[in-house]
């Protein structure tokens, strides 16, 4: 979260709640180019490490009676698999590695972001927008490839009265194109807001009288953020499943 503790210049309270989101090079002080190794790189790679630690290493023994960590890996697998199968049916199962990648990346990045002084990659639109766009493009391309023009039936609500259908079609079309926006901003917005609020409370802790309240508030917010970290990953994944279902079965 907080990479900087520049609390006060002089005596007055100074808040820099957004400073924790600054991207900077890990080595040297140069500008941030496309291939510069930055704190983003570091924490994204930590996410990879977390995925490996969670899903690959504990399952290496392939025990019939699982250890605790192997159980966690199996439960995570089952959780996402069941979510995908329940929503998309058997056809959706072939997208399981893709959906699992999204879920594992987001959940690991979110929880890594909760480590104090870490950098939260999923609080950046630059991270969540490509994720959401990838889902949007996958769903759109898949929908047309699988169903052809029939995919447009998604916008034509055949159960509504005929007169209403063109209006509904416009609404459906708009809502379809708003999907990637809401999909990405929901995740980044939730994560960013929580972290910024914690930082603001931390700024208040510089005043001795308020600091106990401030510490309590940070604790409470942190608990909430733990929930948000998981729930947002879950929401992102389940929405991906729902969108995939639209591509596989476009009829309402």
């Amino acid at each position: 979260m907080a990479t900087e503790t520049t609390a006060a210049e002089g005596s007055s309270l100074v808040f820099h709640p957004m400073d924790q989101f600054i991207v900077k090079p890990l080595f040297g002080d140069g500008a941030v180019g496309m291939f510069t190794i930055t704190n983003v790189t570091l924490w994204l790679f930590f996410a990879i490490a977390a995925v490996v630690l969670l899903l690959v290493l504990p399952t290496s023994k392939r025990a019939i009676v699982p250890t605790r960590m192997q159980s966690v890996a199996e439960l995570t697998y089952g959780f996402v698999y069941k979510m995908l199968e329940d929503i998309c049916g058997k056809e959706g199962v072939k997208f399981f590695p893709y959906v699992m990648t999204l879920f594992m990346f987001i959940v690991c990045a979110n929880f890594l972001g909760l480590i104090p002084t870490s950098f939260t990659t999923t609080s950046h639109f630059a991270v969540t927008i490509p994720l959401a766009l990838a889902v949007f493009l996958t769903v759109t391309v898949l929908g047309f490839v699988k169903n052809g023009a029939a995919f447009l039936g998604l916008f034509w609500v055949s159960s509504a009265p005929l007169a209403l259908r063109p209006i509904l079609a416009i609404i459906e079309l708009i809502s379809y194109f708003v999907r990637p926006v809401s999909h990405s901003i929901r995740l980044a917005g939730n994560v960013m807001a929580g972290h910024a609020v914690i930082k603001v409370f931390a700024g208040f802790a510089a005043v001795a009288v308020i600091s106990p309240v401030s510490v309590l508030a940070i604790t409470a917010m942190y608990g909430l953020e733990v929930l948000v970290a998981f729930i947002q990953a879950y929401v992102f994944t389940i929405l991906t499943c729902v969108y995939l279902k639209d591509a596989l079965h476009p009829s309402h």
Binding site: T3, E4, T6, E9, H16, M18, D19, F21, I22, V23, D29, G30, A31, V32, G33, M34, F35, T36, T38, V40, T41, L44, F45, A47, I48, V51, V52, L55, V56, T59, S60, R62, A63, I64, P66, Q70, A73, E74, Y77, G78, F96, P97, Y98, M100, T101, M104, F105, T121, S123, H124, F125, A126, V127, P130, L131, A188, M192
Partner: protein, 183 residues
Amino acid sequence: MATEPLTKEVAGSCVDSYGSAIGMPQLCFDWFPNQIFWLVITLVVIFLVLSRVALPRIAAILAERQGTITNDLAAAEDLKAKAVEAEEAYNKALADARSEAQRIAAEARAEIQSGLDDAIAKADAEIAAKAAESEKAIAEIRAGALESIQVVAKDTAAELVTALGGEADAKAIDSAIDAQTKG
């Protein structure tokens, strides 16, 4: 960490000279290529790790466990059937033994009965033989007695005749006595 002022070139357009963010760092498009580049690499790596290693492995583990459970259940079912079979065999053996015992008891009873019958028959025969012997003896005695009676009667008759002053005709007396005693 930036405590001393940075040069404009290093800080870029999103960070002020004290290293603080200007506005939202999320909207700093200078950093977008960097973030997107590393994100894509991260996602590809995670995808490969998951689809090549982790997911097939976990799927195999789950399938294997399911198989083991199914096998164990089948084995348990088998053993249960065997137990039922063994119990049936035991019951059958028990019933067989019981009927065998009954048969042996009946046989023994029949044997004893036949022995008893034999003994009774033998005893009856012996008794009959003894009775016949006795009867014979009695008949002999009776015959003996009759003969003696005839002798005594002839003698007595002869004596009587003589005593009465007659001439004792032995032949006549004998025939008279025989006629009398025959009836």
